[in-house]
Amino acid sequence: MKKYWWLGLIFIGALILPLVVGKFWVHVAIEILILGLFAVSFNMIFGYMGQLSFGHAAYYGVGAYATGMLMVKASVPLPICLVASMIAAGICALIFGYFCVRLTGIYFAILTLAFGQLMYYIIFQWYSFTGGDDGLQGIIPPDLLFSANAYYYFTLCIVAAALIVMWYISRSPFGYTMRAIRGNADRTRFIGINVRKYMLINFVVAAMFAGLAGGLLGPFNRSIAPDLCNWHQSGVPVFMTVIGGPLGFFGPMIGSVIYTFLMAFVTGFTEYWPLVIGLVIIFVVLFMPGGVLGLAEERVKIFRFKHMAGRVDESIHTENP
């Protein structure tokens, strides 16, 4: 616990943020938190389990629509909606994941992509229920959370709590089983672990947190649209994780800070944001494969995390056993 005092410092920094920056940047900060949660949940599948899911946005979108529809059509209070979002996303993940975990590598990626698109088309076409491509408007947070600062603190608490839960999961025996599966699935199977069951559980839990992120998005934007399930949206957490570094727990969050910040900044003076982020991605892939964290780990000793996601073997090369 003592090692993580700097985390506490960052948290305090996050707490005083709205007092220091303008309203616009508070909105950016909320977006960083929501997308960061989305990306960290994605990393549960990518960094820890070793599989690339290109359809994670399906659960993000399902979560967003669960909260959105409950709030608009049934006026359910927000906290209950968020729980419902997690459950809805979890159920979808259970159904889709059941099939996905039977595959690995490229086939896993494509099947998750296909299911993501399927979800997108279902929401898009079922317009009598979801509003279709018009999206859903009128998602207004309760008066208590209406102002940007209030919603920011609310989001901060929820995201922090979610991160703590995911952190504990990653440090638990379950989390280490995931790393083992990533390292060598066959060997893990040989020691008697039901690999598919564990992968499915991990998949569902990751999806639930993605659903939570989606649920937070609706009231923030006051509206949602089927695009949230699109494969382009699925690409966002992948970018963030790669930029930040998939091998550390906070990698995706760092990636979210960089990505969202960059986007807010770049869209201020050019419409060619896709060009910029495309070049950044290519650059990171070619020259910084471990992301920011990977780079930091190489250069700065203090970042030698021994609990790196997936790096089970390489821990024997670090100085702190």
Partner: protein, 294 residues
């Protein structure tokens, strides 16, 4: 529901399938040989269409303008493909799958915006020469004459690829490389040169597909996104790396689409996704692909 309607739908599904085949064959070839899923394939296809337009503009006053633009566009795109392979793709051959996917995904964004910068946001229209501007009649039902051309090109590419893979030495090497890279390399054949060649060939076909698409309707931004998912579905259903699979897969997708319009108009795409997901679950390597390679 009379027979002429069914025949008309069948033909229209065939033409859609042929278009998809043209796009998907390059994708399948590249993945089959190099194990790289080129997300940016459809974006390059769109560049091929724009290139065709540019060439056509230069030759507008000549009747053969469109016919010459098509191979010119394909060749130019192949050259661009060569550059991309040397500069970008080559660096990720030995990398993990996620990095390869991300590289090609980043390429989509860059290529799309560059296309917008170069050609602008207006729709582009090519006027077809009179030979293919009007309908021909099959059993009294009119049919767009240009689609005869599309179907012919599709078959030509299919046959050409088949001959290439089955009858030429280079083709034999490519097929061997699909099976085992190490063996081919051990025989002293430079794998990198094979890869470059295959990638360029794949992009050439994509350019041809784009150029053939250009005169059909208009060339608009965002066309690639609509098509790339369908191309993926084709390759998944047919099987990566299998020419026959891609051909059959495109016909299936084309016909499913054409006939679902009659029964479930809004569900055409959902249906295709369900089929794709089904194949992935039951037989992930597709109808004609080789079982999962490591």
């Amino acid at each position: 529901m009379d027979i002429s309607l069914i025949f008309a739908q069948f033909l229209s599904g065939l033409s859609r399938g042929m278009m998809l085949f043209l796009i998907a064959s390059g994708l399948s070839l590249i993945f089959g040989v190099m194990n790289i899923l080129n997300f940016a394939h459809a974006s390059l296809w769109l560049v091929g269409a724009y290139l065709c337009y540019t060439f056509w503009c230069l030759m507008q006053d000549y009747g053969f303008g469109m016919w010459v633009s098509i191979p010119l566009a394909a060749l130019s795109l192949a050259a661009i493909g060569w550059v991309i392979e040397v500069v970008l793709i080559r660096r990720v051959y030995n990398r993990e799958l996620p990095e390869q996917l991300l590289l090609t995904y980043g390429m989509i964004l860059v290529i799309s915006d560059l296309t917008k910068l170069i050609w602008g946001v207006e729709d582009k229209l090519i006027t077809r020469p009179p030979l293919v501007a009007g309908p021909v009649f099959f059993f009294g039902m009119p049919f767009d004459s240009y689609f005869i051309f599309v179907i012919l090109v599709g078959f030509a590419v299919a046959v050409g690829l088949w001959l290439f893979l089955k009858k030429t030495r280079y083709g034999h090497i490519v097929r061997a490389a699909v099976f085992s890279r190490e063996m081919v390399s051990a025989l002293g054949i430079p794998i990198p040169r094979i890869y470059t060649g295959v990638f360029v060939l794949g992009i050439f076909i994509a350019g041809l597909a784009g150029a053939v698409q250009a005169p059909i309707g208009s060339i608009t931004l965002g066309m690639d996104m609509a098509v790339v998912i369908q191309a993926f579905c084709v390759v998944v259903i047919g099987g990566f790396g299998s020419l026959l699979g891609t051909f059959v897969g495109s016909i299936i997708v084309g016909e499913v689409y054409a006939f679902s319009i009659l029964f479930w108009p809004q569900g055409a795409l959902v249906l295709i996704f369900i089929v794709t997901a089904f194949i992935l679950i039951v037989r992930p390597w597709g109808l004609f692909g080789t079982p999962m390679r490591a």
